[in-house]
């Protein structure tokens, strides 16, 4: 995809968006039910929502929680994943744990964590951190495991300490894989962010979305969905750009995104 990011395929997603909007408009006009307002009507709500200070504060609160959760997850998951990749014993310890945690719906922990930490930022951030950690651990583990042994031997022969080798040899070499994990983690961060806000409705895009649904403001519901969708797409593009810059040297890996919420 990186190769084809030149002019023709940069247009294609835009065209796809326009196509989807057109399809939506036609479907709404044909079906003519109140539950599906036409695209034009929902899009007219966009400036209204984005011009509202409170809504902007909510979106900012969501993004802040997501960013905090994401950074916390990286701080925790990267060292764990890299150590797992370099030590069979650590891997044997964490693997069964990860296997058991993998099918747990992270966002569904929200009601339980809410009992302990309340409905504020702390619970939501923790749930986001949990969601992001798993793919980052998994992919940094895979990446660190596949690092060329010779690189590590050379570094060791030159007198680099174990920790320094992990930081200066293993981490950069595993970076292409790690980015796959980060990209999957982003999707999960968005999912857990929205879901946690739907469950503990206080602030954030998820709560605006579901409150609009409860108040039957259907145009706002769809406008919020568009905003969240654009948010996901833009963040994805940013991470993809970052990846191209940092690991341009690596061949693009083909990997099926392992994503669970």
């Amino acid at each position: 995809m990186a190769m084809q990011a030149s002019s023709p395929s940069a247009f294609a997603p835009l065209l796809a968006c326009l196509g989807l909007l057109a399809l939506w408009e036609v479907a709404a006009r044909v079906m003519a039910i109140s539950g599906l307002p036409p695209a034009s009507e929902a899009l007219r709500e966009l400036p209204v929502i984005l011009g509202d200070g409170e809504a902007l504060l909510n979106i900012a609160a969501s993004l802040r929680r997501m960013l905090t959760g994401f950074v916390l997850a990286l701080l925790f998951a990267l060292p764990v994943g890299l150590c797992m990749g370099r030590s069979a014993r650590i891997a044997a310890f964490f693997n069964p744990l990860l296997m058991v945690i993998y099918p747990v719906p992270k966002a569904a922990l929200m009601p339980i964590i809410m009992l302990w930490l309340g409905i504020g930022d702390a619970s939501k951030t923790i749930v986001i951190t949990l969601g992001v950690s798993l793919p980052v651990i998994y992919h940094s583990y895979q990446g660190a495991r596949a690092v060329e042994e010779k690189l590590i031997w050379s570094a060791a022969a030159m007198g680099m300490s174990k920790a320094a080798r992990l930081w200066r040899v293993v981490l950069p070499a595993a970076l292409p894989q790690i980015f796959i994990g980060i990209r999957t983690g982003l999707v999960l961060a968005l999912i857990t962010m929205v879901t946690s806000e739907m469950i503990a409705r206080q602030t954030g895009v998820g709560s605006i979305l579901f409150n609009a649904l409860d108040m039957a403001q259907y145009a706002s519901v769809y406008a919020m969905i568009v905003i969240i969708g654009v948010l996901g797409f833009v963040l994805d593009v940013i991470i993809e750009r970052l990846r191209c810059k940092l690991v341009a040297w690596a061949e693009e890996e083909r990997e099926i995104a392992v994503g669970t919420s």
Binding site: P13, V100, A108, V194, L209, G259
Partner: protein, 245 residues
């Protein structure tokens, strides 16, 4: 060795609960949760909720497999289809599908359909991507041979490309299966009157902490079992294929 960290985790949980660091209302002991789980497994009402969840899960997953494989094969074998599907996939894949759920509820109602649709929306992308990549990586010589032997384009697709791409497709499908289990649970938590997710929300409203853990553990066990079962099936189906790393 494998069970050790799990035992540690359980022991830690048990220790915290027994030492009274957390009141039982906030954190019931693992023994209490397991006892309640065993009790519920024999409760027909609980089983009915679990069956509803499973039904939605498999309906959504089944549709996602059919749609995902069909679109993936189309994208890999036809340039025009690829030009159409790829940008759509690029735009829609990073969108958190759960945000679509209110729209699905408005369109399809509060019953099964909206939840199944959400499962499909979330489960279809890994399968689509896996099918596309698997089919695009099929050895071209195989396809040329089949074509030279007189097989039609469609026949080649079904009898050569599809089996050759099967290992990758099944990997994608396994990922999707676990996603389906998670998503169906979340959808039931958000709006529902039945299913395991509803049981969790219902218990949290009445502060029955033990009953909150039971559905969560049940869905996780379902996910684990489905994952393991799918792996076993994959091994059987792929007997003779070179093993993937």
């Amino acid at each position: 060795m494998g069970a050790l960290p799990l035992a540690c985790l359980l022991a830690l949980w048990h220790g915290i609960a027994v030492a009274g660091l957390a009141p039982a209302v906030l954190l019931p002991s693992p023994a209490a949760v397991v006892a309640r789980l065993l009790e519920q497994v024999r409760n027909p009402l609980f089983l009915q909720h679990a069956a509803t969840t499973l039904m939605r899960l498999f309906a959504g997953f089944g549709i996602a497999v059919v749609v995902g494989v069909a679109l993936g094969l189309a994208a890999a074998s036809n340039r025009r289809a690829e030009a159409l599907i790829r940008p759509l996939w690029r735009v829609l894949a990073p969108v958190p599908k759960i945000a679509l759920y209110p729209a699905l509820v408005l369109l399809l109602g509060f019953e099964h359909a909206s939840k199944v649709a959400l499962v499909v929306a979330d489960a279809v992308f890994p399968i689509l991507l896996a099918t596309y990549q698997g089919a695009a990586a099929v050895e071209p010589k195989l396809i040329w041979c089949a074509r030279a032997a007189g097989a039609s384009r469609n026949r080649t697709l079904l009898t050569v490309v599809l089996p050759a791409a099967l290992p990758t497709i099944l990997t994608g499908a396994r990922v999707s299966l676990v996603i389906s289990a998670i998503v169906v649970f979340l959808a039931e938590m958000l709006t529902s009157t039945d299913g395991l997710g509803h049981l969790l929300v219902y218990a949290s409203r009445s502060f029955h902490t033990v009953d909150m853990f039971v559905p969560l553990i049940t869905i996780s066990i379902i996910g684990l079992l489905l994952n393991a079962g799918f792996n076993a099936m994959r091994k059987r189906l792929l007997a003779g294929f070179p093993d993937e790393p």
